[in-house]
């Protein structure tokens, strides 16, 4: 095997430089900062200062609880919905395919700020279109943003709306890579469509479903913009505060970089655990 070190590194150098400065080093640095007291000048090494505070901080456990709650409910609902969208969009019986694709995929290009503004306005108590429509069919208005449960529901609906189509795109690509003759054989053997879905489609799609789930979990874990803008900085009273918002508050409002880094590394720990589960779930059978 011939080595071409000089040529290869000339092509790699510009990217590797940026990658090291703005990704690799910060990953290490963040870990180091989490072990320092950063509100004194100069910073000093104090290994238990932030981590000790973290494990006794009710605000941290509140944010962790909210984040996990959103994860546990929103991700399965969204992935199931994305599977349904992908399977139905893939149906040869579907007419006006382009219109349906547009409806489900369009949210993928909508920015977080734009859609947060719309959802906030739609769920307004007195003048929001959602409450007007509820009243129109004889239901009472819901005070979406002053109670925790409906506020959480709005966040979950917003995130699901924004990302279901994104996952459906990935799943649809996976569906289209399943060879047609598998289904033809099953149809000849008079296997019902529903059975085909559960015994052919789902098992063959499993690695991609797991991939989508991991991607969504890691994305939702860092949820920031929606509770920042839709429920007004994690309101009501911290009811929708997430780890992402806590990190923002600690790091960039209180300028407590050490503590914010400890929060960030908690997320990293969760992400690593989830990636390990993914590897375990999609391992090749021996």
């Amino acid at each position: 095997m011939r080595y071409q070190n000089a040529t290869a590194y000339r092509f790699l150098a510009p990217y590797l430089l940026i990658f090291s400065i703005f990704w690799l080093w910060p990953i290490i640095d963040s870990f180091l900062i989490s072990f320092q007291a950063t509100r004194t000048v100069p910073w000093r090494f104090a290994p238990t200062f932030n981590w000790g505070r973290l494990i006794g901080d009710p605000a941290f456990f509140n944010a962790l609880k909210n984040t996990l709650l959103i994860l546990v409910i929103q991700v399965p609902v969204m992935i199931s919905l994305a599977i349904v969208m992908a399977v139905l969009l893939n149906s040869p019986l579907l007419k006006a395919r382009g219109l349906f694709r547009f409806a489900f995929f369009a949210p993928v290009v909508v920015g977080e700020v734009a859609y947060s503004a719309v959802f906030r306005l739609m769920f307004n108590l007195d003048y929001g279109i959602i409450n007007k429509l509820l009243n129109g069919i004889g239901l009472p208005s819901v005070d979406w943003f002053t109670n925790v449960t409906p506020a959480m529901a709005v966040i979950m609906m917003a995130v699901t709306w924004r990302w279901a189509g994104y996952n459906a795109i990935i799943l649809l690509a996976g569906l289209q890579s399943i060879p047609e003759d598998v289904y033809e054989a099953a149809t000849l053997d008079r296997v019902s469509k529903v059975k085909q879905f559960f015994y052919i489609t789902l098992p063959l799609l499993k690695p991609i479903i797991v991939f989508c789930a991991v991607l969504s979990i890691i994305g939702t874990m860092q949820l920031f913009t929606e509770p920042f803008l839709i429920t007004e900085r994690g309101g009501p009273g911290g009811g929708t505060e997430t780890l992402g918002l806590l990190l923002y508050r600690q790091g960039f409002r209180s300028l407590n970089f050490g503590y914010a880094s400890a929060v960030a590394y908690t997320m990293a720990g969760l992400a690593i655990a989830i990636s390990l589960v993914q590897i375990w779930l999609t391992r090749e059978p021996k």
Partner: protein, 283 residues
């Protein structure tokens, strides 16, 4: 097959088709509803948005709302910044990552396994982890807060393009590049004039995804460019959300200005969009 079973087969097909459309149409309408309401709100005067009537059709107030928005924040200027940043970022990121992808696809070199392992191994780490050190470095150490460099350069670490382009180049016939090499063509010319033109569809998909990411990026620009004249469009719009005396018609007009161009691009280049998103998953 008897004619009877053929009839019942086609009836079953028709029934399935009807059920499919009966289920999917309402779901599609629900999904389109927020976008539709964004357009409706952006064309309504504020006293129309905050009235007890149900309004589901656009009015004619879009331009008034734009000027209301412009009174609250220099949104047009912020759009200018966002466009320039997204264009520059997309160009630089496509160049950097396709060069790196090329190196990984074509050459054997010392440390290759480690470079691949580090890029792949850290890809699922949450972005939140690097936020604090990046901010300290860019704002305090480099003193680059509220500059173009701060908006464009740090996000270039994104490794999506490296993986995507490595994959694209390694699927091309290597004999082609080797033949050019035998002819005495230099490696960087092979890359620029043989490999890149062949990769055009992949480059288009990558560029669209990167442009969209930069255009919609919110958290980093919010942190690093918070001075009014240096804000990107999403950040400028975000500052208005939650203020008590604010024109919601104006905010919605801004949301439409952020979203509509991307929707047009999406409709025109849907194939590339879908390819770019799906490429993240199919290895």
């Amino acid at each position: 097959m008897t004619s009877h079973s053929r009839v019942s087969r086609s009836q079953a097909r028709l029934g399935r088709s009807i059920a499919l459309h009966l289920f999917l149409t309402p779901l599609a309408l629900v999904w389109l509803f927020p976008l539709w309401m964004m357009v409706v709100f952006s064309t309504m005067p504020d006293n129309g948005i905050f009235s007890p009537d149900i309004e589901l059709l656009p009015h004619g107030n879009f331009l008034d709302n734009v000027s209301n928005l412009q009174r609250g924040t220099n949104f047009i200027g912020a759009i200018g910044i966002s466009v320039s940043v997204a264009v520059t970022y997309t160009f630089l990121s496509v160049m950097l990552t396709s060069m790196a992808g090329w190196a990984l696809a074509r050459y054997n070199f010392f440390g290759k396994g480690m470079v691949v392992a580090i890029i792949f191994g850290t890809i699922t780490l949450p972005y939140a982890v690097v936020l604090i050190p990046q901010f300290i470095m860019v704002a305090r150490d480099f003193k680059l807060a509220n500059t173009w460099v701060a908006l464009i350069v740090p996000p270039l670490f994104n490794s999506l393009g490296v993986l995507f382009m490595r994959q694209s180049f390694s699927m091309m016939p290597h004999e082609l590049f080797d033949a050019a090499k035998v002819e005495g063509v230099k490696e960087w010319r092979i890359f620029l004039f043989v490999a890149l033109p062949l990769a055009r569809p992949m480059l288009a998909a990558l560029a669209i995804i990167l442009f969209l990411a930069s255009w919609n990026n919110y958290l980093w620009p919010l942190l690093i460019n918070s001075k009014p004249g240096a804000m990107t469009a999403p950040v400028a719009l975000g500052t208005l959300i939650g203020l008590t005396k604010v024109s919601w018609g104006g905010i919605m007009a801004g949301a439409v200005m952020l979203t509509a161009p991307m929707l047009v691009v999406f409709v025109l280049l849907q194939r590339h969009f879908v390819a770019g998103i799906a490429a993240g998953a199919i290895k």
